[in-house]
């Protein structure tokens, strides 16, 4: 029964190490995140001349939503490739004939993807929030929210990647699968952050977000394992 824990753990380290060797893959999402948030004030700046009010205030209002959309868009395209390399190299094949159950291996891969994809975003998020006019304290407090929401996005992305593995026109199907699943995460995440900044009751929003992520945490490894079984036949 020892293998049940050691094999997934070893897979986790393998994936993290593999990404670390090729940091361009790992940091691509973070660079995109920075780029997008930097462009928001610049883009708004042009339109704000015509007396729309206080530009700073507007920026602060849309900041949580912008940050969440940017996190989502930085995560999901990277998840698209989650199983691609493994499928072509034959690693996926060897994973399927490992004594460890496939859903556990999927969980290990998802955890590694969270470290590789989400952690860099969580690290730069406070800086970008401050750029949008939010207080440092508020941004540090919402770091946990991003980590949690990011896990949700990674789970959704993994599921979509597994379901579309080997399919023609992967990109389109991916988007169709991801959109309805990622939307609630975005809504609850952004509203939790809104409440946090406004100083309102955050607990309800956080609980909803956590509940969603927990459901996905159970669902995604199982669905991914089954979908890969079908795709690899």
């Amino acid at each position: 029964m020892n293998a049940l824990c050691t094999i997934p753990l070893m897979l986790f380290w393998h994936d993290v190490r593999h990404a670390w060797r090729y940091p361009a893959d790992m940091l691509g999402g973070a660079v995109f995140f920075v780029m997008m948030i930097t462009l928001v004030p610049l883009g708004l700046g042009g339109g704000l001349g015509a007396g729309l009010g206080d530009a700073q205030e507007l920026l602060r209002l849309i900041a949580p939503t912008m940050l969440w959309i940017a996190v989502m868009l930085a995560c999901l395209p990277q998840m698209d490739r989650l199983f691609h390399r493994e499928a072509t190299s034959g690693i996926l094949e060897q994973m399927r004939i490992s004594p460890a159950p496939m859903p556990l291996l999927m969980l290990a891969k998802i955890a590694a993807a969270w470290v590789v994809v989400v952690v860099p975003l969580v690290v730069v998020a406070p800086l970008l929030g401050v750029m949008l006019g939010l207080a440092v304290g508020q941004m540090v407090a919402s770091t946990g929210l991003f980590a949690l929401g990011g896990l949700g996005f990674v789970l959704v992305g993994a599921m979509a990647a597994a379901l579309t593995l080997g399919a023609q026109g992967r990109g389109i199907f991916n988007a169709i699968i991801i959109l309805p699943l990622a939307m609630p995460l975005l809504i609850f995440g952004a509203s939790a952050m809104d409440a946090l900044i406004a100083g309102g009751a955050v607990q309800g929003h956080i609980m909803l977000l956590t509940a969603l992520v927990l459901v996905l945490l159970v669902l995604a490894p199982l669905v991914s394992a089954i979908a890969i079984g079908f795709a690899e036949e």
Binding site: A3, H14, P101
Partner: protein, 226 residues
């Protein structure tokens, strides 16, 4: 251990509409080799993948060391599958890739054992090189090195899909030695090849080409000749 290494009962296998095997009965005992023959596309790979439970089989039953495939945890420890694809992480070094593959199969090996396996396969100097920088033949040797590491696990049935392809003369000799010592320890192997293999096969399973519907299993008892 009285259970045969591989026991197949009434196995029928289909790929798309084509029947690859019909009502196959076969048995492979310790120390035996089954050679899998057939033209390109005949279904050798499908058969091997089917035995490894990577593709579903149509009907019938089989077991490895008496263990049925539905016992996932136990069954997956009964064989090694060496496919066309080497399952190497592109950005990792040779030794890291080997360690990963061995660990994924649930076998513990320390660094010395891994280094020794690389040396046996003639890759001692490549241990820290990135796998994507190795040549096709070297990558194949690296994939085969896990057989050396798992040498202690004699009960495992080796399922090998054209293992001799892309290997040079020395590599073929090395692999032959490996397989022979596995057989001597009581192991068994199913090997697919489209030309002859450099070791005697106890059974030859020929998978029929497009038109004819039957396979052909020829068993030779080499022990009887000795």
């Amino acid at each position: 251990m009285t259970a045969p290494r591989l026991a197949i009962r009434d196995l029928t296998m289909r790929r798309d509409a084509r029947v690859l095997l019909q009502n196959l009965d076969a048995r492979l005992d310790a120390g035996e080799v089954m050679l899998l023959r057939g033209k390109n596309g005949a279904g050798k790979t499908s058969f091997l993948r089917g035995l490894a439970r990577l593709t579903p089989l149509e009907s019938g039953a089989y077991s490895i060391n008496g263990i049925a495939p539905n016992n996932h945890n136990l069954f997956m420890g009964q064989f090694v599958f060496i496919g066309h694809r080497h399952a190497l992480g592109a950005h990792l070094s040779a030794i890291e890739s080997l360690a990963f593959l061995v660990a994924l199969a649930g076998v513990r090996a320390n660094r010395d054992a891994l280094m020794q396996a690389l040396a046996v396969m003639g890759l001692a100097g490549q241990a820290t090189r990135q796998t994507s920088h190795l040549s096709a033949g070297q990558q194949r040797r690296l994939a085969l090195a896990r057989l050396v590491v798992m040498g202690g696990e004699a009960h495992r049935l080796w399922l090998m899909d054209e293992p001799f392809s892309t290997l040079d003369e020395a590599g073929r000799a090395q692999l032959t030695t490996l397989i022979k010592s596995h057989l001597q320890q009581g192991g068994a192997a199913v090997i697919s090849a489209h030309d002859s293999i450099p070791l005697p096969a106890h059974q030859t399973l020929t998978i029929a080409a497009e038109n004819s519907k039957t396979h052909h299993l020829e068993a030779r008892k080499w022990e009887a000749r000795k």
